[in-house]
Amino acid sequence: MIGMVLRRLAALPVILIVIYTITLTLAWAVPGNPLENPEGRQPPAEVMEKMKRQYNLDSFPRFYVSYLANASGFEYARDWATGQIAHERAQAQDAGLVPPVRPIFDFGPSLHNEDWTVNEIVAGAMPVSITLGALAILIALVIGLTAGVVGAVKPNSIADHATLAVALIGISLPTFVIGTVLLLIFGVWLPILPVGGWGGFKQLVLPSVTLSLPFAAYIARLTRMGMIEALDSDYVRTARAKGLSERSVLLRHALKNAFLPVLSFLGPATALAMTGSFIVERVFTIPGMGQHFINAVQNKDLFLIMGVVLIFATMLILFNLAVDVMYRWVDPRIE
């Protein structure tokens, strides 16, 4: 198992470099000048040229190398090893300046939001996306497992059909429809929940429920299938024959096995819920990573695009790894 973890971690930088190269090539090809403010006034042309130079926006190879060196921590490691960082700090202090902030993984400044660095933006948005995504998956588990078990206990009953139908709707309806409908009902018609924003617990309810529904539907179907199979198996029959209570049979024997496919779904699902919630973020005005990513693409804010993509990719890979580890730990038969 340790070998597997090490192998996967070793592959991480390779995968990230591939993602970095593809994304940067695509983002670079998008027309438009990221320093330009389409509706605003423009600084003189020669100033614009200088600024492009300063950010390496005039040369793809230079941008590629310099951004990678900064984001990967290479630049930091080198400056640390050569004593440059300590030197800069001492120099700044001598001159009475505020010492420069040097994060280890430096994703650069945001080109569009001049007062912010990508690191600051991500640090602010990350807790938001993680809260929303994790809560959504929790809700999805509760709803999905309950619905799945109920359906499997009496297959083809009304309860089963009802949960299947709801699951089908949950999978097929896009979140912007579900979100808007929930928002109308609970935010506008019976105004018991806020219509958007971020900060309080109340503001969490609608977006996390909206985000959870497609996952809940999927989990319900997985659970139902697993449960039906398990309930039909020999060991469940044995358990019943031993005279165990129905509750014990369902939860301790059948569900335990039926949960395995759900668990393997949980890894990518959690990563997806934390990174792919931009539609929900938009509907409920939530300042998460997804929103920033979309805005970054619209503004061609290269530093922010690359920063968010690299962080998303790292998260996705690590979550999958975490689930694989957990999977083996829960079910030692798996190699």
């Binding site: 438009g32 403010n37 605003g40 300046l97 007062d115 600051e120 219509v195 309080g200 300042p287 829960v330």
Partner: protein, 633 residues
Amino acid sequence: MIKLLVPVVLLAALVVGAVLSDGATKPADFTYINGTGTINTLDLQRMSWQPDLRAARMFFEGLTRNDVFTWGYDIVPAIAERWEISGDGRTYTFHLRESAKWSNGQPVVAGDFVYSWRRALLPDIASDYIAFFRLIEGAGGFYDWRVESLAAYEALPDAQRTQDAADALWQETVERFDRTVALKAIDDRTLTMTLTEPTPYWLDMCAFAVFYPVYPDLVSQYERPAPKNGRLDLRQGWTKPDRLVCSGPFMLTEWKFRRSMRAEKNPYYWDRDSIAIDSIEMPAVDEPNAMILAFETGSVDFVTDVTVGYRADMYARKLEFYDENRELYESLKAQGLDAIEIDRRLPDDPRKNIHVFPAFATYWYNFNCLPELPDGRDNPFADPRVRRAFAMAVDKETLVREVKRTGEPVASTIIPPNAIGGYVSPKGLGFDPQGARALLAEAGWPDPSQFPTVEILFNKDAGHDLVAQSVAKDWHRHLGVPTRLQQKELKVYPNDLKKANYMVSRAGWYADYGDPTTFLEINRSTDGNNDRKYNNPVYDDLLDRASTETDSAKRMALLSEAERIIVEEDLPMVPLFHYVTVYLFDPDTISGINPHARAMQNMFLIDVLGDGKGPDTPRAMPILKPALGGATP
């Protein structure tokens, strides 16, 4: 079984941890959505975005400010308590008030202005408004010198580009500025400047946020010449809440990226007793529809930009409301009350919360005036008669009534009429399809179907497509010319305009200051915003003469003649309509928002009526005498 609970527990722990690390906010006295609520920068010399400027006027103050509750947006003292202007109109001496303080208690001194304006004049900062600062004598030369010496520095071999060399260049820059630019701090409380020419709107400029000072002791800690290229290396960080030092009525206490900003009353502000609210919250809301919901559910008090598609319907409902109260409405209007005050005196009704005012801004179509089109063909629009004919063939009334539907005034001039005191607008051209056809024939196109296909370029958002369709239909119907629509992304659109890579294109302009030149300069042959590549020496000469004319009435007459050439003879652009500003707020509970065309809203004037703070009596514009006309709709 326990093992199965582990992922669930981990997830739950994650949620709790993230929620705990993320504090909640308390409600403020006044909450408003400033644009979309996202501020690009609070660095005064680098801003150009409306919401940034609006926020800046709350956190900072300049020498002067506009009294936004007068119809002329009169200049009143701010940090300067008084000033003198020399006889030739070129030298200004400002006397700073003793009580003006930064939010750390330090006095605001004349040197702070010198430092900040020097900053604006550095190519290193890349201010979008650098042209305004070049009005100061010596400033243009200083800027050009800095550009050249930076280029020379960059050409040096690597070994010579050291920190010491960069510092020396910077030292030289500061000395050169002090020696050559006519901006001087005589003492802590006296600031003088000499301009290259008499500039009647200079006091108005001083009220513009880009001219407000930053706190030198703070900013200089974040700016240092870089050895690599000699330019100031601008580091972020000083605009954040725990660091920013403010000079205005409010100070920044919280700023979360694309989430919210919070302001609290500045205890050191010299005029703090006039402020009727203690705290302001500015949430970020990107989605136009979510803004309306936030207002309707009571979580925000004021939306500054209502852009939802159904705003025309909201406005229609307000007109219905006026109809139901026609008699009262007319009598209030006859008294000369401003639009907001009229609403306030009408019965309480949610339909009246939407407010539409004509803005100090114009929407138009550019003609490419170059002799050749980008693809090398002869450009039919190089002939002013053709441009005039096309301008006369647009049915603007119908466009405004049926397409825009939000009460936009039809435009026949580029400067909104009656918005600038002492300026008489030319008449412009009316809708005249027959005259247009005759003119087109006279210009050599008796058979309009032979006319090259007219390509209309526009960017794809904000309903520009509907306007383009309407204009294309008019040109096809009334002139008989073939047309084609060409839609582009906003990101690439400005580039096409700058390079004159179009035949006809959509454009618009919001005034920067209260003088006709804010609209007229953009048609000067050498201006950076002359996207039409219009070139008429007579026009340029009128602007030149106006710039040296010291008699205000004569100057206005010259400018009016210049505009007449644009809107009656040469038509490098067809003005279509004047923009409107659409606000959402309840006039019965919020006071301090003005209905002026220039739409400069100062949040420090806000008073929440009936909250027990401040005077709690609504602020209104002076009564308009109907004979004088004015900027109300």
